[in-house]
Amino acid sequence: MVDRFRRNLLIGVPAALASRPFAALAQAPLRIEITEGVVEPMPFAVPAFVPDGGAAAQLAGQITQVVIDDLAGTGLFREVPAAAHISKVASFDAPIAFADWKAINAQALITGAVGVSGDRATVRFRLWDVFAQAPLGEGLQFDGSTANWRRLAHKVADQVYSRLTGESGYFDSRVAFIAASGPKEARRKQLGIMDFDGANPVMLTDGSALVLTPRLSADARRVLFTSYASGAPKVMMLEGGGKARTVIADASGMTFAPRFSPDGRRVVYSRTVGTGADLFVGDIGGRSETQLTRGSSINTSPSFSPDGNRIVFESDRGGTQQLYVMSAAGGEASRISFGDGRYATPIWSPRGDLIAFTKISGGRFHIGVMRADGSGEKLLTGSYIDEGPTWAPNGRVLMFYREAPGASGGPQIYSVDITGRNLRQVPTQGFASEPSWSGLLS
């Protein structure tokens, strides 16, 4: 029964498609229908997690809501609201009244309990296959500080997402970004970091110096960025809660567009050389760098493949901005973009299968994806400015920023599924741009 149930769920859940190669997405007719057609989100119910004692009552309610928001926010699941529930779950270990949940067509049921002891919180949960009347996986427990209660909720939601889709989740993750304020002619920009859902934003710079292009490490503990603090733009790094500040490579020219290597030990970036810009790679904290491209053209926006062996980047060596792939050691590069318009900001998926990019065509900016060999190009969004995609830890979702035109226009961060569905704005206090998504936190 569980097998049948899972199979049924997977059919309705496009996230599971990514377990197949992208080629199958584009070519298998049945999959195209599922991917491109209207998908009915899977109904789920989350009765309020049971507080273990009065001290946990408020936190239990908050955690329940974040679990619901995480799952519903994917567009893959639809919450059956509490007002429709027939059963109440008064005890975590009480038997489940499956008929009551079946009656409101909640296919998945998540039950949980929250305990608080001092400044520590514990969350337990179980996932149920309502129609099979059976648990889906083991019950699990997460512990953490009460201050990090949202992470506990994200951990639960990641487990549920993973069990229902066959994919790893992406909720317990963080995003570096640029917070912007002030008039467009003199925008004040600060480096910020927030949870994937916009919660817990913290500013890491004070706005006195222009900062651009943040890149968050997979563990969300370090961030590379481009800073004007010393005058001309230089690649810098913050780590250790924003206290330490290390210049990655300080030599001639201006440096910008940094990105971590997959192992986090090296950084690849652009340095201005003559009237162009070339790619360099260096060890973080080291003094030496290796030049990867040579020529009078502009080479920038580099991104490592997840295995660290290749780098995708943009170059105007052929006349206009196009995407190229080369060995991580430099040398010959192969052009992979051939459509109309200009291509920019390629980012290799953590799965390795896809490259997301910005495309400028017909006076509009688009976010798109293509296979690593350049085939299967698909545009997901388009507007006056849609730019700078960054991958969710599971390679299923992209964040990017969208900027409205004119003096009063400003950027906002959005997320979109790689099918092009479920476009959502990530809530931020003011203008926000240039998101950079971490890996799943441990």
Binding site: T275, A344, T358
Partner: protein, 179 residues
Amino acid sequence: MKMRTTTRTGAALLLVALLASACSRMGDEPVPYGASGGYSGGDALGGAGGIGTGALPGGGTLPGTSISDRVLFSVDQSTLAPQAIGILDAQIGWLRSNPTLPILIEGHADERGTTEYNLALGSSRASAVRNYMVSQGVPDSRISIITYGRERPVATCADESCFAQNRRAVTVVTGGTGA
């Protein structure tokens, strides 16, 4: 310390005229500046009278002069058009008569390109100006460059009339006023 004058007189009018002529010919594809526009180099103030009115946002001049402090570029280009060469020649004349003052060339781009590419493009534009000045005998040691990409527009509307003003390289005198 950066010094900028607020003198916006003849040079501003001239630039308005140049923009007006440039705008009509600029579409999505890069279009080189032609010889029209009422200016043929040499004297930055020549022939501007009666062509256009109104202030150019952010347009400035070198200290104590009416020499424009900026040159403009075509879409996605960093080559110097004839008009730009004319303005730079006037700037170079001023630099020769003020030989001790260091300058900073700011390169800028419009917002119709990506952030990182525009950083490189702004650097290309500033470098092109520096290279020309050096080729005309200005010591390289006097010149610094910086790119602002699309981060510091002087005009914020969403059409070519503003984009054209933002695709610029600005000569900023970074020493004393000198005039």
